[in-house]
Every structure is written in structure tokens, then in C-alpha cells.
């Protein structure tokens, strides 16, 4: 099951799952899984634990030493969080939101209208134009940075949110148009015909019928785009820059913190946690869409 945003996972297992009973014969499997899980979790766990330790503890000893004094209240603190939020992370959290939400919604809107036209409207050049859109999925982001930065500089709009929104819109569009068009095109044409007989025009059919029916693929793309934009470093660095500390996003601030080296060591874990909290919430709350979105994203350059 690759890349299909709307298809439910096929379950071929019998209703009564033989795996649900514990068996000694499988204990090597449990052991192997436990070892892998521990290895995978340790880096993140270390970061989380570190973020709640006192600055001098973070600098002075490894995070694993806390297991000696787990219940010693004096070794836990929210001080790092207070410090990073105070040093601009609360501001950059807001900036990340301000960059991400429109940069998710604008491409979805623009792509949905385009996808509808490609799927259900007839116009000259439709086939060629759609092929061009699909072909643009191969263009790596890096190809576009310098020309756009030049134009932005000429227009004096580097370092502005709208510039970043539109850049992310441009980069996200090919995949969005492609996914949405394929989904909308697979909706039964009888639906659209009967709506038309009832006197609905294209705009009404699109907003009342197609959009509600396309929610699964819209949600999948939205989670994917959210993750890209929120976690993006390069676009934010180039178009928002570090010059104006008031407009930096979390990834840029975090990278700057990392760049300060040992001196900022005690702030890095809390800073990283602040930058991760929202994607993690999305991850746990929308895991289904998240997986669908990621699978769908496999055709994006």
C-alpha cells in the first residue's frame, strides 16, 4: 500500500489474531523489539530529561545520572523553558505558527480549485498543463532559492511572512494539485451531473460537494505540508533570514542556539522540546492522516 491517501489498509488477518496471546517461543522477538525500542527512544528521552534539569546539571553531568536522584525535587526545574521562551522562543513559536498556518491553507485552496478544473472542467491545454504540473514535482527546492531571493530583494519583501507563505505555496503546489486531482477525478461523475441538473454551478458543486467529499486527501496533504513547513529550516533561513530576530521561526532559532555551542548547551534541550511539541501533538492526534500524507509524499522532489 503505497501512496494512496484514501484507501483503507487491507486487513488479511483472521478476526481472532493468534498474535494476541503471549507465547514463550516468541520471547526472542520481544527481547529484540525491546532492545530496538530502547535504542530508538534513548536520544529523544535524553533530550526530554535534560530539558528539565538545572543548567549546571546539564553542563556538569550526563542526563542518565538523574536515575540516581529521580525523586530529588531539587534536580528538576522549568528554568530552561522559562529562559528559552524569554530569549525569543515564545516569539519564534508565534512566528512558526504565523508562517505555517497560511502556508498550509493557501496551497490547499489554490490547489483544490486547480485540481477541480483539471478533473471536471474542459479547457484548451488541460492535458499538457496537468503534465507540466506533475513534471514540476521533480524540481528540488534548492533550484529555486537564488532566483526567487533576487526577485524578493528587488521587491523589498525578503524577511516578510507573505513572501514565505507564497514560496511554500509554490513548492507545495505540484504535489497538492496532483494528489487532489487524482482524488477528485475518481469521484463518480453521476454525482456532479445530478448536482448540475439541480441547478448548481461549478462554484457551488466545488464548495458544497467536492470539498466535503475530498476531506481525507485534504487532511493527508495538510498534515504533510504542516510538517514540511513547521520543520523547514532552509526556506525560513533564506527568505525570513536571521537578520531580523523578530521574524525568525523555531528551527532558525534552534539552529542559532546550536551554533552557540557549549555556552548554550543548557538551553538546547528545552529549545528543541519547544520546537517539537506541536508536530508531536499532530503526530499523536492525527497519526492516520500523517501516515497517509507521508506515503503520498513519496512522489515529491
Amino acid at each position: 500500500m503505497t501512496t494512496v491517501a484514501e484507501r483503507p489498509v487491507v486487513k488479511t488477518k483472521a478476526p481472532k489474531d493468534p498474535h494476541d496471546s503471549f507465547s514463550v517461543a516468541r520471547s526472542p522477538v520481544y527481547l529484540a523489539c525491546a532492545v530496538i525500542a530502547v535504542i530508538w527512544v534513548i536520544p529523544a528521552l535524553g533530550l526530554m530529561i535534560s530539558s528539565f534539569r538545572t543548567p549546571s546539571d546539564i553542563r556538569g553531568s550526563g542526563w542518565w545520572t538523574v536515575f540516581g536522584s529521580l525523586f530529588d525535587a531539587g534536580s528538576w526545574t522549568l528554568e530552561n523553558y522559562a529562559t528559552v521562551l524569554d530569549q525569543g522562543f515564545s516569539n519564534s513559536f508565534a512566528n512558526s505558527l504565523a508562517v505555517t498556518i497560511p502556508a498550509v491553507v493557501i496551497p490547499i485552496t489554490v490547489a483544490a480549485f486547480a485540481a477541480y478544473a483539471f478533473a471536471w472542467m474542459d479547457f484548451p491545454g488541460r492535458t499538457v498543463l496537468f503534465a507540466v504540473v506533475v513534471g514540476l514535482m521533480v524540481v528540488p527546492l534548492q533550484m529555486t532559492l537564488i532566483p526567487i531571493l533576487r526577485i524578493y530583494t528587488d521587491l523589498g519583501i525578503t524577511g516578510t511572512f507573505p513572501g514565505v507563505w507564497l514560496a511554500h505555496t509554490g513548492f507545495g503546489l505540484p504535489l497538492a494539485v496532483y494528489l487532489l486531482r487524482n482524488y477528485m477525478g475518481s469521484l463518480p461523475s453521476s454525482l456532479i451531473e445530478s448536482a448540475e441538473i439541480d441547478g448548481a454551478d461549478h462554484f457551488k458543486i466545488f464548495t458544497r460537494l467536492i470539498i466535503p467529499l475530498s476531506m481525507p486527501v485534504l487532511a493527508a496533504f495538510a498534515t504533510l505540508q504542516f510538517l514540511w513547513v513547521w520543520n523547514d529550516y532552509l526556506v525560513a533561513l533564506v527568505f525570513l533570514g536571521v537578520a531580523n530576530p523578530d521574524s525568525t521561526v523555531l528551527t532558525v532559532d534552534l539552529a542559532a542556539l546550536k551554533g552557540r555551542g557549549e555556552g548554550a548547551l543548557s538551553l538546547m534541550p528545552a529549545g528543541a522540546m519547544v520546537s517539537m511539541i506541536l508536530p508531536l501533538v499532530v503526530f499523536f492526534a492525527l497519526q492516520k492522516f500523517f501516515v497517509r500524507g507521508l506515503t503520498a509524499g513519496s512522489v515529491k522532489g
Partner: protein, 384 residues
Amino acid sequence: MTTPPVLRDDEVEVSHPHGQPGSHDNSPQVWLLRILSALVVPAVLGLFFFTFGFLQDPDTNKIVQIVVAIIVGVGGVWLLFWAMDRLVSLLPERAGAGVRPFVFAGPALILLGFYLVYPTIDTIITSLRDRSGETFVGLDNYVLIFTQGPYLEALRNSFVWAVIVPVACVVLGLAVATLADLLPRKTESTFKSLIFLPMAVSFVGASVVFTFIYNFRPEGFGAQIGLLNAIVSAFGGSPVDWLRMPVWNNLFLMVILIWTQTGFAMVILSSAIKGVPDDLLEAARIDGANEWQVFRRITVPTIASTIVVVWTTILITTWKVYDIVAVMTGGRDGTSVVAERMVTEFFTFENDGVGAALAVVLLVLVTPILVINIRRFREQEATR
């Protein structure tokens, strides 16, 4: 109800009841209207965004800025499309039917032209010019890339990344998916969530995470707070500066990418494994195959196409990796890669020609793989 994913010319009349008369009216006036209507949404968006100085003014209250930004960015776009649609309905019916598709599809096409088509062409031209873009130098920049030390280093490293990371992710992902399939349901989903979780973390965040793994302090400069060096010290070894260790430091950087991408491989491969028909597996077992043979001869061949998709997807991610190298080492100590070197050329050395040539190399590397992926995607949709 399946529509072939790629439009064919002969399909137009059949599946599109909306082919009203007029939609193929190709008179110059209609084309002018089409182009104008396509331009309006992006133009108004642009004007609206950039004339509102307070959206960028640091003195404005942040919350107000964000709320306005979201209202404009979200509601404004819908409103624009709606207004354009209303405007078009004022046209005579024939002309309206010809113009309306461009109201819908036009803004996307204009934005794509501006943000992807034009920059790609411009970058290719820039790659044939000198560092400041003034003189045409032919293929000199490419010759430089393929002969000079620092660029060869970046190319070599990128290729090593491209060989190791996708394979490691696929092998690990496959192993984890197979093991997880043997666990009780609830344990399985918890286990898989744990492995998948790093996928939600940004590369910058992952780099900070691994700072506390790779941290190095020379002997006598305090306790080791990096996990690896603590382990080395515990066994009586001397601490190692992992990220400055020639050649091997590349591998330590790759581990960060593998940590984030294995979960992706695992999730996709896991659902493929679950799709392998049970009777096929049972038949093999009855024929006396052991579990390894079943895995090797039945499971892996059955999910081969999924393995290829996962591999190619991670391969593309790997070639474009920038953040991890930039944040962890800045490309120093022999760790530079193409995507990172490119940004350095652009912004540090201000050598646009070479930077653009590196970007073109990236495009050339990525394109064939994406063509394969897109083709496969279409085949799958067609057989759905």
C-alpha cells in the same frame, strides 16, 4: 469509477459533462480574459500582502499580526476565488464557460510558473555564468565541480550518503516491521509509534538531540555528557571527538538521518507486509519452509515494489539533506554534501555560478528517480 490518473485527449468528451460550448472558443478576446482571470488572484494576493506594512512591522502586536495573517491567508484566498467566479458569471454565457476554468486553475499555474518554472530556467542559465553572473563561461562551473577538491568531496560524500542511508533505513525498517508483526496488536502499535516518532522531529531538532549523544570534552575537562563518550570512558577508553573524526564523522551524521527516516520505511513496509496473503505464507510453511525462507522467498518478493518506493523516497531525501550537515558541522572536517555546499557557495562565498551548477547536479540526480516514482504511483492508481 476509476479515472485514469493521466488525462488522455480522447477522454475529454466522455467523462466531462461540463464541456459546454464555448470552452474551446479560442478567440483572442477569450484568451486575454483567461490570462487576466488567472493573474488576478496571485496579483491581488501579492499586492494585499505586501502593501500591508504592519504585517511585517515588529511594533505591531504579535497576536494581532498572526490573526490578521491567518484571516487574510485563509479567508482572503477563498474570497478572491469567489469574487472572480462572480465576475466571470457576469460575462456572456459562452465567454464565461471559456474563462471559468482559468479562474480555477490559473492561479496555481501562475504561482508554479513564478516559483518553479522561472527559477529552474534561471538557475540553469546562472550555472553557465561566472560567480557574479556577468560573463558567460560555458561549462566551466561544471568542470570545476567535477575536478576541484572541495566539490569532489561534497559529491563523494553525497554519494556515500545516498548509498548508505536509504539501504540502512530499508533494512532496519523491514526488520522492525517484520518483528512488530509478531507482537500482540497493542504492543505492536505502541512499538511502531516509538520508532515512527522521530519522523515528526525537524532535522534541526534531531541534530540537537544527537548533540547529547556525540558531545565531546577532552580528558580532564569535566564529565562526558555525550552518551557515546560516557560509554567509551566507562570502558576505560579516551573520549573521541566523533564529529571531527575523519571519514567516520560522515557516518555519525548519517545516523541522525537514519534515526528519523527508519520509522517512515517501517510504517510503509509494515502495511505492505500485512497485505501479503496469509494462504501464500501458510502454503510455504506446509511445504516445509522455515520462517527465514518464508520471509526471504515469499514476503520480500511480494513487497518488492513497495521496497523500491521506500528506497527511492529516502534516497531523494538523502540527496537533498542540508539541515543536518549545516547545523552539526557546517560541512567542516570533510563532511560537506552537495545540498549544503550549494548553500555555502551562494551565501558564504557568493559564487552564484558554482552554487547554481551544484543545484543543477542535484536536479539531474533526483529527476530519474522521481520519474520512476511518479510512474509507479500512476500504475498503482490505474489498477486500483
